[in-house]
Symmetry: C2
Subunit: 232 residues, 2 copies
DNA sequence: CGTTAATTTGACGGGAATCAAGGGGAGTGG
DNA sequence: CCACTCCCCTTGATTCCCGTCAAATTAACG
């Protein structure tokens, strides 16, 4: 990874879409903070659990999964990070999850210490970093409700709506992850995910042009099925 | 605990244990920040989901649960807050969960805006507030793994170990919450929680002097059963 | 075009939920 | 002081959703 840093530091041009979000304003007024560009192949590890958290990452293109595993291999994906998303930002000095590229992925890397230095000098930056963490916490709370109390159908419906909103505000969803990834994100098995999607398709709520290309057909019906939190 | 420092300024006797943690140093150097003392009866609401987040709270004695509910009443408890814990601290202007007293509870209340004012003036306070949120996020990630991938026995074992650590580093655990609360925390039913605790008792891992008074007998065995995250 | 991975679908089983009933402890009022 | 009541907890019987095991189909890739 250090080798990679060396090679990619030269080509500074950033390609790919950068989603809107609070993180876009994060580095406002900090032109010194230029990240190095790094590429990862499919399934390549970006950082490991318990590793020192030296860098903070921003997805340029592709997708990243962060996860935890139990001793016997059971895996829980904490989050999928899509273009524009920041990840790897910890309060602790070590990472609490492992990060891997879901597909061919390009990220920008920032030195954590540099970021923290700016935070100590600029109150606004400090506030934005905190807001970022707090937003992740809100999302985590929503996921606790999903994992603890929703049925398989509700989980999948919620997932598809989330992806629909995050990837293409309109149009087909182009999923970068496998059914197994989705299963490990929702606390299900890949077979249950597959079966549930098939059923949603049979009921006309979604349409599949391929396994990874899904279009939401009846958003309101899907939303109803997703049984969101009462206040939301 | 600054909070506690604040209380002890005029009221020297603070009852109840105050857990150690990063929040204890939160308000160092801000003696102006004195919280009002409030009491809540069992099951009384402290704040509601979607309500404006005007205050931040610190548990003095008793216990608080924060939770979300689905439209049909299914409930997921996000966290239990014990003496010494801070809660209700949001990045958003509104609360994302409901907070209720589990038992007779006393809290200290602080104006959120005052806290934020100190954060803008003191970098160290800002950092501690961020650390607090980040720690909650780490705990949430651990709970995602539990809810998504652990069995009933593993969930209950993990819960008992957590409570044992948080309540009395040694000695019997005195649970303030019902079996239903535990179930809604672990994504189970109250019957399954009851059955599982009975089984742990039969296997000699824990001993019950009453339903709410539990002693861990074989911590290593229980920890093994809890199947913690590989790196932890 | 062959090889391998990903996905789908079916059959079956099991772990936890649901339904139901019985005990026990704390508080209350007679 | 004791009976009564209301929860809370425990335990049993049964159901069912989802996991497991298995196989076929499709897609991806060199």
């Amino acid at each position: 990874m250090l080798l990679q840093t060396a090679t990619t530091i030269r080509n500074q041009h950033v390609k790919g879409p950068v989603a809107a979000g609070p993180e876009n304003f994060l580095f406002a007024g900090c032109p010194e903070l230029i990240g190095a560009r790094l590429s990862y192949r499919r399934d390549e590890e970006i950082y490991g659990e318990a590793e020192e958290a030296e860098f903070v990452y921003k997805v340029v293109s592709g997708a990243v999964r962060t996860y935890k595993v139990l001793n016997d291999g059971r895996r829980q994906i904490g989050a999928f990070h899509l273009p524009g998303d920041l990840f790897g930002f910890e309060s602790s000095t070590t990472h609490k999850l492992t990060a891997e590229a879901v597909t061919e992925t390009v990220v920008l890397v920032f030195k954590r210490r540099t970021l923290e230095y700016f935070a100590t000098r600029n109150v606004e930056v400090a506030r934005q970093l905190w807001t970022l963490t707090a937003c992740s916490l809100d999302q985590a709370m929503e996921r606790l409700l999903l994992l603890g109390r929703k049925t398989a159908a509700e989980k999948v419906a919620t997932f598809l709506l989330e992806m629909d909103q995050r990837m293409h505000p309109t149009g087909a969803i182009s999923l970068p992850m496998t059914r197994r990834d989705i299963a490990d994100y929702l606390g299900l098995t890949l077979e249950t995910v597959s079966r549930t999607i098939s059923q949603l398709q049979a009921e006309g709520m979604v349409a599949l042009s391929s396994a990874r290309q899904i279009t939401v057909q009846r958003r309101s019906k899907l939303r109803e099925l997703g049984s969101e939190d009462v206040y939301q």
